[in-house]
């Protein structure tokens, strides 16, 4: 959905739903995924519809993902780190998946 107009100094390795990718450092998880052409990060809780980051400033909570086993993290407020494992969320959360 987005492309970068310039290159960052360094990259880190992350995975999204198990797929490995290298992304520029010093950016948020949401920006990193958008730059890889990934916009749908979850399916909605009530209607099971695809949702994507919307406000990119921590207000809308549309970009909630699971990061390193912790659910409901705001992808737009979390900076990428080497080795980060990110996964999409589908529907409502449950306690046994980590809290």
């Amino acid at each position: 959905m987005f492309r970068r107009i310039d290159k960052a100094a360094d990259t880190v390795a992350i995975t999204f739903d198990g797929i490995p990718m290298r992304v520029d450092t010093e950016q948020t998880v949401a920006a990193a995924l958008l730059s890889q052409g990934i916009s749908t990060l979850r399916r909605s809780v009530v209607g099971d519809r695809p949702r994507a980051p919307y406000c990119l400033m921590g207000v809308c909570f549309e970009c909630l993902v699971t990061i390193d086993g912790i659910q409901n993290r705001q992808a737009c407020m979390t900076v990428v780190r080497d080795g980060m494992a990110i996964s999409s969320q589908s529907g409502a959360r449950s306690l046994d998946e980590g809290c």
Binding site: M1, F2, R3, R4, I5, D6, D24, E26, Q27, T28, A31, A32, L34, S35, G37, S39, T40, S44, V45, V46, G47, R49, P50, R51, A52, P53, Y54, C55, L56, M57, G58, V59, C60, F61, E62, L64, I70, N72, M77, V79, C99
Partner: protein
């Protein structure tokens, strides 16, 4: 002297004179001003770097690399420099999720609960300045929840902070100064902008005209006209756009709209929406500051005196979080609130602080010239504030439609808080941020009452979801122990 950057909650002092929340222009200026006045100051901010949204990534960006961000953006370098050189503490990537005003030895004292690095802690301060900035007013249209649709503010954040430009065919839709500013930035950065849909009601021009004279001296007049002309030369601009619908199954593929009585449809890869900005007042609301309806800007904002003092004696609000005025007004507002707090903390310094305060208040009056014109001209159309399309989703989290809200409103629901319990609107993770404006305006529209009378959601802490383990690990205060166990002994 230099800013002390704190990266661990253990390194916090036991108490500060002043805590400032938010590192945009208001927060950075407040920190520099308070530190200069001798207050032990800490600034806490949720983002990894200072700048807020308007000066996002200002530390890292340079005019050489990203000149298209424009001169108003580079003005942020000045306030950033003063902040980086000031004698304050700075805790980035820290979420202040609760603020409680209490008393210590008969004097006002504030307790802030802060989450950083997966842990929560308590920060004590004698005074607090909320510099929480603005957020975009929701623009509920059919299809606005589809991937491929974002706010214009979001697209600008992606550009400023990561150098990201939307791929493929882009349409911008909405109203407000940001519409043409971002259209121009996007074109300069190589984006494929195929149309701008301007929803500013034509009738706004007549309403705004009486307020034009003070705006004529504003530097924003020439800038605005130049931007408008420049964008029009490069891209089809549709003005007076009445209704908008985004079309697509699993992502946006087209945008349909009405302009000049005709229905048009344009194929897109992404659409960006914008209806101006409103104060981000979640923290003020949850802390218990009184809010008031601003009928010109169509939003709730904290009730403040001219120096930013809220209805709670230890809480001050500066910048757009207290009422929309833009970056330069926010910067001066930050200085004013910081000085007012210092005046209240150190009455013995009145002779030094008083004249400074007067000087900045005068400067703010000058900078605010022309604001009424901008507010009146860009007052969003009713169609986007109180939508009538029954299928449109109003509450994105709980997927509550305009139809459900209008139906409940017609059955004499008392207000937004009762509506919550009936429909669950405002009860998802965003805690009502994305629907509160729409809910208030729809209730006002259906029940023919003023938005001031309808009110807004009463928010509770934590203002954002915090893991339970962080709650559990907080130190217990003697008061908390007594409240639960009835035991007076100090077990914390």
């Amino acid at each position: 002297m230099a800013l002390r950057i704190i990266d661990d909650l253990h390194l916090l002092d036991r108490e500060y004179d002043l805590a400032i929340i938010g590192a945009g222009p208001a927060g950075m200026a407040a920190a520099a001003q308070a530190a200069a006045a001798g207050a032990r100051t800490i600034l806490l901010d949720e983002n990894p770097a200072p700048g807020g949204q308007i000066y996002r990534s200002i530390e890292r960006n340079s005019p050489a690399r990203r000149s298209f961000l424009g001169n108003d953006y580079w003005k942020g370098k000045g306030v950033l420099k003063a902040f980086l050189q000031c004698d304050a503490a700075y805790l980035p990537q820290a979420l202040v999720w609760s603020v409680e005003q209490g008393e210590t030895d008969g004097k006002a004292a504030v307790e802030l609960r802060v989450s950083a690095g997966g842990k929560s802690s308590i920060v004590h301060a004698r005074r607090v300045v909320f510099a929480t900035g603005a957020m975009e007013r929701p623009m509920p249209v059919r299809g606005w929840t589809l991937p491929g649709v974002m706010t214009i503010g979001a697209a600008q954040i992606a550009l400023k902070s990561s150098g990201l430009v939307p791929d493929g065919r882009v349409v911008l839709a909405g109203s407000g100064p940001l519409l043409y500013l971002f259209a121009d930035q996007l074109l300069q950065a190589g984006g494929n902008l195929v149309a701008v849909l301007d929803t500013t009601p034509r009738s706004n021009w007549a309403k705004a005209l009486p307020f034009l004279p003070p705006f004529l001296v504003s530097p924003y007049l020439l800038k605005g006209l130049a931007l408008f002309a420049k964008v029009r030369r490069s891209v089809p601009v549709f003005t007076g756009v009445g209704t908008i619908e985004v079309i697509g199954q699993d992502r946006a593929t087209a945008i349909r709209f009405q302009a000049k009585g005709r229905t048009e449809e344009i194929g897109i890869d992404s659409a960006f929406l914008h209806q101006g900005v409103v104060p981000n007042n979640s923290l003020a609301n949850a802390t218990g500051c009184l809010l008031a309806w601003n009928d010109r800007q169509k939003c709730f904002q904290p009730e403040l005196d001219t120096c930013g003092r809220s209805s709670l004696p230890a809480i001050y609000v500066a910048g757009d979080g207290g009422g929309i005025g833009g970056a330069l007004v926010a910067e001066v507002g930050g200085r004013i609130a910081a000085l007012a707090a210092c005046l209240d903390l150190f009455p013995e310094k009145t002779r030094r602080i008083g004249p400074l305060l007067a000087k900045h208040e005068k400067r703010r009056r000058v900078l605010s010239r022309g604001r009424t014109f901008i507010d009146t001209l860009y007052q969003p159309a009713v169609a986007f504030r109180a939508p009538t399309d029954l299928e449109t989703i109003a509450c994105r989290c709980e997927e509550v439609t305009v139809g459900a809200i209008r139906d409940a409103a017609a059955r004499n629901v008392v207000g937004p808080n009762q509506l919550k319990t009936m429909l669950r609107c405002g009860m998802g993770p965003c805690q009502g941020r994305m629907c509160t404006a729409t809910i208030t305006e729809i209730l006002a529209d259906v029940q023919q009452r003023s938005p001031a009378e309808i009110g807004t959601y009463r928010l509770r802490t934590p203002i954002k979801p915090v893991p339970l383990r962080e709650f559990a690990s907080l130190p217990l205060t003697p008061d908390a122990v007594q409240a639960v166990t009835g035991d007076h002994s100090d077990r914390s």
